[in-house]
Every structure is written in C-alpha cells, then in structure tokens.
Symmetry: D2
Subunit: 321 residues, 4 copies
C-alpha cells in the first residue's frame, strides 16, 4: 500500500496512519530526513509499529497526545506492549477541521455526518449549534470519513482535516469547525531500538512505569524520585494495565535527556522499585524549550559528588568541600 513516492529500493521507508491527507501525514511532512523517502500508509498504530519492529519500515510517525482528548490510548498501550521500539523525534500538528460534502451539497441539506469519534468529539459544540438535528455515523479515520461519501455512505457530509480538499473533490461547507482553535496533536517518530542520541539541551525523556501493586503511596514515591533530582515532568498519564481494576502504569515525559546525570539518577531510582520500566527514548523536543535547572542538579555537581565519594572511601584527605 506504499504510495507513488516509493520509487527506490535505496530509500528509507516511513510508516504513517494514512491515507494521504491525515494529520499524521502532516506530521511526517515535518520530519526533515523523510523528505523524498518512501512514505508507507498504514491503517492503525499497531500496523505502524509492526512495520518498524519487523524491519519493513525504518521508522513510523504515530500520534501520542492530543490537547483535547489526552493521551492516545492505543499508542500508549502499544508502546507498553511492543518491545524493541525507541522514540527518536517529536512533532506538533495544529488540529483543525472542515465540514465537507459531495459537490453541490449545501449546509442546510446536511442531516447525517460522517466523523471519526475523536474528531466528532472535538467539533461537537459547533455541530450542536449549527446542525442541531444532525445524526452521527462513526468513521475509522478522518480521511475515511470523507472518502466514504463517495462509497455509498448514507452520510451527507464529513468532518475532515483541511487538506482533504487536495485529495478529494469535495464541497467545502465550513472551515474551523473545531471547538478549540488551539487544538494540537503531538506525534512521535519511532525507530527500532538504537543507541541513545546525544543531548541537545532541549530534550525530553519518555518512560512507561508500572507501579508495585502491593503498596500504597507508590505514586508519591515515584514522583519523589524525580522531584528530589530536580527533574520536572511535562506529562504523567495513567493507563490501566488491563488485568484488574485499579492496576495502573504511568506514561511519563520528563524534561531532559537520559545522558543528563539528574535524569539518569531519577530513572535509576524509578527502576529500582518499579516491577517494570520501559524506556521509550530521549529525543529533541518539538517545542524547542531549553531545559534549565538549579545548579545543584548540574552534571558537574553529580561528577564532583562521585569523585568525593570515591576519595573518601579510599581514605584520601578531604579537601575543602
């Protein structure tokens, strides 16, 4: 199902949730090294990760967090369950929607609307106000919502990404129909497990941490592992492990890079009490935020402390500390 850009065996292959026109494709378009390479459209995140693990693709772009709907459960659960994956990049795509229909349709003719459930949730207020008596038919993707208009769907219109007009001959009934004008989706680029890339000073480290089930207060203990090393968390999301009510793993994004001493030390602390820690990767941030910290958490301070400890164990005279 590779598209027309797949014209060379020497090219790298990138999987993405297709078809052409999806927000995921827009994210892939932000990946510099993907320009001019093979773009391979897949149907869901599991297929994308399978491509990467099996070697059919070199990398894949998958949605991981949405400012309106929150963490993408399917992605978080897939990353928790499929080993051999590493996040190597992060991209932000503004999420905007249009209402489209078959050519010749007018807004007042719309009674049934095709929409992916997540997109439907993000346009709910607009639809209720504009088309109070509409009915909703769920679609499997944002682009599929539009494409089925031409495949016998009983729907009169579809919620779709703005660039749908470049892919289908649709009538544009309304623009900016999303309820939140600042909505954005965060995507990550994943590859097979590779050595950690170098620090850029504007990095993020992603983990999935399972908590011991037999102790209360373990979430507090986990957070303390980060706070006592001055590591800020920009994301902490619970996901059920799935075997029983009340058993959770946490998806975490920490400011900084695993090669930052304070981050490594915090991750070691988490690793020591968690029955399962998955390191998803350290990678440059999409928001380019430079990570700062108090001097006491700097690499130099960590190195000096270790040198001091080594010296005192060896019985060297204590120099001024």
């Amino acid at each position: 199902m590779s598209d027309s850009r797949d014209n060379s065996a020497a090219r790298r292959t990138y999987s993405y949730l297709g078809p052409a026109g999806t927000f995921t494709e827009a994210a892939l378009a932000q990946v510099p090294e993907a320009v001019g390479q093979n773009w391979h459209s897949v149907n869901n995140v599991g297929e994308a990760l399978d491509d990467v693990v099996s070697g059919r693709s070199d990398a894949a772009v998958i949605a991981i967090e949405n400012s309106v709907e929150g963490g993408v459960s399917a992605t978080q659960d897939a990353l928790a369950n499929i080993p051999g994956i590493r996040i190597v990049g992060e991209y932000l795509v503004p999420v905007n929607f249009v209402l489209v229909a078959r050519p010749g349709t007018t807004l007042d003719q719309v009674r049934v609307v095709n929409a992916h459930p997540v997109a439907y949730g993000q346009c709910h207020l607009w639809l209720d106000a504009t088309l109070p008596s509409h009915e909703h038919i769920p679609a499997s993707s944002n682009v599929a919502a539009a494409s089925t208009l031409f495949n016998g769907s009983i729907a009169d219109a579809a919620i779709a990404p703005p660039n749908i007009v470049h892919h289908y001959d649709v009538e544009l009934l309304a623009e900016n129909v999303g309820d939140n004008p600042n909505a954005v989706t965060r995507f990550v680029l994943v590859s097979r497990t590779v050595p950690v890339q170098g620090r850029t000073g504007s990095d993020k480290t992603s983990l999935i941490v399972e908590l011991p089930s037999d102790e209360s207060g373990t979430l507090l203990s986990m957070l303390e592992q980060f706070s006592t090393r001055g590591v800020n968390l920009s994301l902490i999301q619970s996901r059920p492990i799935g075997d029983a009510l009340g058993r959770y793993r946490f998806v975490i994004d920490a400011d900084g890079h695993i090669l930052d001493e304070r981050v490594a030390d915090a991750v070691l602390g988490v690793k020591r009490f968690s029955p399962n820690v998955i390191f998803l990767g350290s990678y440059p941030r999409a928001d380019k935020l430079q990570i700062t910290h108090e001097n006491r958490y700097s690499n130099e301070v960590f190195v000096e402390a270790r040198d001091w400890l080594r010296g005192l164990i060896a019985g060297e005279p204590e120099t001024d500390s």
Copy 2:
C-alpha cells in the same frame, strides 16, 4: 424514548445508556431502589446527565471505569463540566462478549465485524486469532453493533453483550470472545446534588482536581495532602483540561467518606491550593471493602487535637497529652 416500564407518574425515573441489553442496563438492574421504576434509555452519557440536571430523571447509571480501557473519558469529562451532579452509588458488572450474526450465518462466513470501538479493543486478540482477515466497522454502542445487522449493514457479524440473545433473533457464533476473562466495568449512580449520605465504613469519595498550572511539583503536593492524613487513593487518573497541551485535571477516588475527619482534612488541603476541586460524592463501595487506617488518623484523634488546640489558645492548663 422511555420503555414499557414507564407506566406511572409516581414512579421514579432512571436514565441509562440503552437500548435494553447493554452493560449499563445490567448495572441498573443491580440498583435495589430502581426495581419496578421507570427505566429511561438514552444515547450517551451527556444525555443521561442532562436528564438528571433538568429533573427529567431522578438518577442515572453511567460507566466510569473499565478494567481494560481505563477511565471512561466521556464520563470523566462530563462530570468535570456539568455542575449539580452527585454520585450516590457504585456497581460492578463483569464484561463479557459474544460474536453474533444473522440467523443461518456460520463463523467461517464472517469477513466484516460490527463492533463498538471499546468492545473491539477488548476482543482484538480473539478476533486476530480466529478471523485473521476480518475487517472492522465501528458501531455507536454494543447493542447497536448487533441491531444494525438487521438494518442493512454490510457487516456479517457483531460483537455484543451476552444478553443480546434475549433482545434480537441472532445466531450465537462464539461466546467469551473477550481477551480478558476478568474484565469488569464500574458504573456509578448519579443524582442531582443532595446532602451527603451517612458513613457506612465501606465508602469511597470521588473528586476531580485541577492542578495549578504555574508550578511544578503540584501533583506531588496534591498526593501529600492525602498521604499525610493516611488516606489511600484507589484511582488517580489524568484527563486533559482541553485548553492546551500539558494542562491536566485528575479524577480521584479516595478510600473513606467525606464525613471521616481524615478525608475531610485532606480534601480541605487539596481545596486550598487547587484552582478547582469538584466533589463528586461519598458513597458505599461496590466491593464492600471495609476501610481501615492507623489509629492516628481516627476521628477521635482529630477531635481530641482540636479540643487541645482550643484549650491552649484559651490558656487552660495543659492536661497530660
């Protein structure tokens, strides 16, 4: 859209996600005071809560947590945004699925499967193993997945709750097709805001807490409000507030009742630093677990400490403490 049981103006009305045959109806069947009352089928959680707030219904049963998929986002978000609601009861329903089809269909004929996305996610492994080349069409509810088999759907079969066989003339192709045999869904009974019910000793207190956005470490601070009063949390789930990436509210279930001094004190501590705390209710637990705690967190200790403080401010001689 009330069903046939709605036969008396004097009866109370209970809204639930219908139609008849859903897991929500099974939860409503567990509510003793709902027996013989009007059961009002609605299409989604928003409609159920609207019924309650507007007074069209006396109460509603809604799904709030699923052992496989986690917190039900739509419910959590609706409870965060619709004021005037109070949780007054909790019920657990085992979640099991069957694969059904139009009469005369055999399993080997199934190529397209209708399923609500959540149900599809819970039967994924079985479907992949049994029907490796199947396609999925999303349905709007578990019962709708089956009902559309008779309304022109191109699907050959549907994932549905076991009791679907009592409501539709379907062929039962397979039972226990859920991937997790212990899957369970937690439902709550909600009413308009009413005075808090008395303690039973086996209670749960539900809150939604928004964290201050301008401080790191606030999740840790919030958890400390509970831990320093010996209050255990059985659920803590993040949900995006929706206005920007990285802004979260937390859905919390605390062991104990708001009339327990330690719970009240912890909730006061949370209230003091959160820009928004929603008290959803204190209600008897479905699991009947008796809540225990160290003696230092007992009501008596709280009362004695306040008496002691009052005495010392008044200048009374200190008795043996």
Copy 3:
C-alpha cells in the same frame, strides 16, 4: 534575694539569672513592662521557672538559644518538664566578653582564668592565642567568674560580660575577647499559662514535640506537617528525652502565630501523631520580621475551604470555585 528595686508589694516581680551584670539582666532591661518593677535574681533556670509556676514571680527571663553554643539545654529541658509555663516575649542580647582581674594585675601576669564553661568556649581562640599556657577554672556563672576573684580564688583573671565594670572594682585587661563578634543570645520572657495573645504579623510559635519511638521516618512526617501548610521553621533542635539512647524530642520555632490558620492546622497535624506536644506560646518576634506566605496559605483561603466543605456536605449547589 530580691535586689533594691523590690520596694513595693503592688509591683510585679520578674525573675532572672543573676546577679546584676549578667546577660540575662541585660535582656530583662529590654522588657518595657518590667521597668520600675521588682527584679528578682535567681541562680538557675529551674529556680526562675519555679518562681513563675508557684506565683512568687509574675514572669521570668531565661536564655533559650545562643548563636555559638546552640540551644540552651537546661532551658529546653526545663520547659519540656515543667508544665504551666507560657512564653510571652523574646529578646536578643549581643554577647561580648572582657577579661578582668584584681586591680593592679597586668595581662602578662595571668596564668589561671576563671570562666563559665560556655563563656570559656566562646573565648577559646582568643585565650589560646593571647595566653597560650593559661589554665581554666570553671565558674558557675559569668558574674561569679569575676566575683570569686575577690573570694579567695586561685585564678588571676576572669572572663565576664562588659558591664561587670559597673558592679565590681576590676582591672579591665582586654575587651572583645569573644571569638565571634556577632555572637548573640536569645532570651524569652515566660509567664504562667495565660490565654494566647493576639497576632502582630511578626510572631513566632514555639513547640516541643516528642516523636513516636516505634516508627522510622517520623521526623520527616513531622516536618511535612509544616511544609504542606507553608509554615517555615526557624529553629529545630533535638534533645534526648533521657530515658534511652536514640529517643528525642524536638524544640521547634515556627514562623507565625497559633491564631494563623496555617500554623494552627500544622500544629493539629503534629499533635495527631506525636505522643506529646508542648505548646510553649505564640509571641512577638525580637527580630521584628514580618512573616509572609503564599496566598494559598492565607487565613481567607482556610476559611473559604471550610465553608465550601460545609456547603457540599449539606448538599448546597457548588458555586464557582
């Protein structure tokens, strides 16, 4: 043993560690309401507190902390063991020492030095540098060190407070012999237990807290009671309880007044888990420091939170929080 100022039965009586000339007398001179009243010289802190408890004195001035030697153990232990006492004021006295001798003595003739052990410790560097071969004879108070020069002591000189020259006919051999030019001693004015005085905005609250012996981490728990209410501690000192090695009580000075909601709440938290809390008093600070705090710890926030809790228990509609 009252001095000449004790000339009226209607006057109030203040006990202090005498005789005239001690630093304690200098502290008492700072107490506005003591001017023109009876000043009663005593020999030790126990006697001073006995005077107050028995009603022989209305109040007493006692040293509680020294910038060089730390908490005054005798005072701290007496306050822990003698009930019925309340601190009502605080005073700071700069601590400076002179070396004095019998008239006609010169510095090069000094071989044996009388000094209270604490004063000796504070002048040790100067003595070692100036009189390297001196011997030390301990005295029972700073003034006694000088007075015994005239009572047959074999000492040649004495370490004494600067104002000793107003009380004894001594030769001043050297001034500023203290090793730390900024040394200061903190004194408190104590009365019988009385109702707590009003807040001034620049207050201090003193406590003695015994920790439960059978749990580790209790010191951390105690400190969290203060930190989670935004209450800073300016003093925290351990003192052995005395019954076994490793059993401690802590002498604590907290910023703020027991009538500040955040302080009262922290003290309640401490009271609930400590086997013994002694409230020594809330009183105006000698350093006049205005206590500030984040808005979330203000009295209004505490009151609002309690009102909110009361309303939600009663079932009142939640107003915007």
Copy 4:
C-alpha cells in the same frame, strides 16, 4: 602525661580523656586492639584529636553521645572543625555514679558537692532529695571532682564514677546516685583518615551535614535523600554553625555502611545540595544490630538498575525487566 603502660616504642598509642578511672578509660578498655598498648591520658577532646591528627597517637576514644545529656557538643563541634579524622569503632559504657568523700566523712556532714556539670545534671534529683541544702562546685572532669577533695577543695564530697574507689582512698557515701538507672554513654574510636573498612552487616555511617542557608525546607530535602533510599537514621542532631543565629549543621548517624549502595547513593544526594558534608566514617555498631532493608534497596537491585541503564543507552534490546 602517658601512664605506666607506655613502656614500648613499638606499641600503639591511644589517647583518652583521663585520668585513670573516667568513663572514657572504661570505653578504651573495651577496644580489643588497645589491650597492652600505650594509653595516653589527655584533658579534653581537642587534645585527643590533636594527638591523632599530629600522629602522637594512633587513635583516641572520645565521648560522642549521652543518653541523658544528648550529643556531646564539644566532640561534635571538634569533629566538624578538625579535618583528617575518621571514626573506626563505637563502644557503649553504662553511666553510673557514686558519692564519695574524704575518709571519715558521713553523709549528714556533706554541704558542698564537687561535680562535673554533666554529672551534676544526671544526679540532680537524687541530690535534691537527699541533700536538699547542698551547694555545687563545678569540676573539670568526673575524676577531678574526686581528686580535688585531696587538693584543698572546700567541697565535702564529690560525684564520681564507681571505679573511683580503685584510684583514690575515698569514703563511699552512696551508690547509684544517678537519676536514670539506664543511662549510657556512647564513645567512638577515631584514627587519622584511612580507607573505609569493609562491611560487617551491622554498621553505622556518621556524617556532619551543613544545610544551605538560603532555602527553607532543606532539612526536609536532606531527610528525603535518606528516606527515598530506605536508609534509617538513628541520630540526627542540630548544632549551631556558630556564625549567626539560625545557622545549623546536623550530626547524623545512618544505619548501614558507605559501601552499601543505598547508603552511598543517599550520601551522594546529600553531598549534591549541601555546601559542606563531612564523612566521619562507617564502622561496626556497638549494639551489634543487623541492618535490614526492603529488597528494593539491596545492592543487587542497584547494580541491576545501572546495568539496565547502560544497556538502554547503548541501544541493546530490552530484556524482560
């Protein structure tokens, strides 16, 4: 001032607070390797440490904590200020006192009592009950209190250690005059800085930690460094740094050995934020208590976590964690 046992240049020399008969000598008698070596009596802890630092002695025994009076301030301050010292052993001596006098004296003749101030404090209740009108003359050591009876002191009796009867021809007026029958003093054996000795499983690690002066909550932060690694503290005592009121260092005894991973990690954490950490030593405990801890704090867990981190940075496939 070495005593008669100093009869060989090849022997090791041990300094102790003398003269013969002190509790410190009783502690030295517990040191197996000191048997038959030179015992060198000194006048105070500073002299003992000077002997060690200068090489005049191989080691010294000094009192560090007293179950009644608490930490020995002079020792704690000396250890904070004199570099090049390491604690290598710990010994406990029961503290008991007798009242002695010149031969022929009877108890009813005693009006003036010689006593070291610490000893006087520990016998205060007995003296007040038995000799209500006694006067106290401070002595520079427990043995000196007795010896001066024969050197022209105006005292009639002296508080002294029980074994004083082996050293002076005194009349024993009363035994067990200490107020606390379980009183004990803890002594440490110190040497010059040497490499850390091996773990015994029953070890103690002593530190002196200065807190940053410009932050509140730093004591809490310091304690968290230990608690988040499961390291219990058996002693934590504040001592003024001496330059200003409110500036403290803390004397800490942690359960375990610096070669225990959890202890080393906690000490590193403390080192990183403290302006000054003094490592006094890791040494076998006098109480022979075996230190236990949760499995998550074991050395193996620390080593495994580091190996895991190394592997993930190198890009090795994650094995089951």
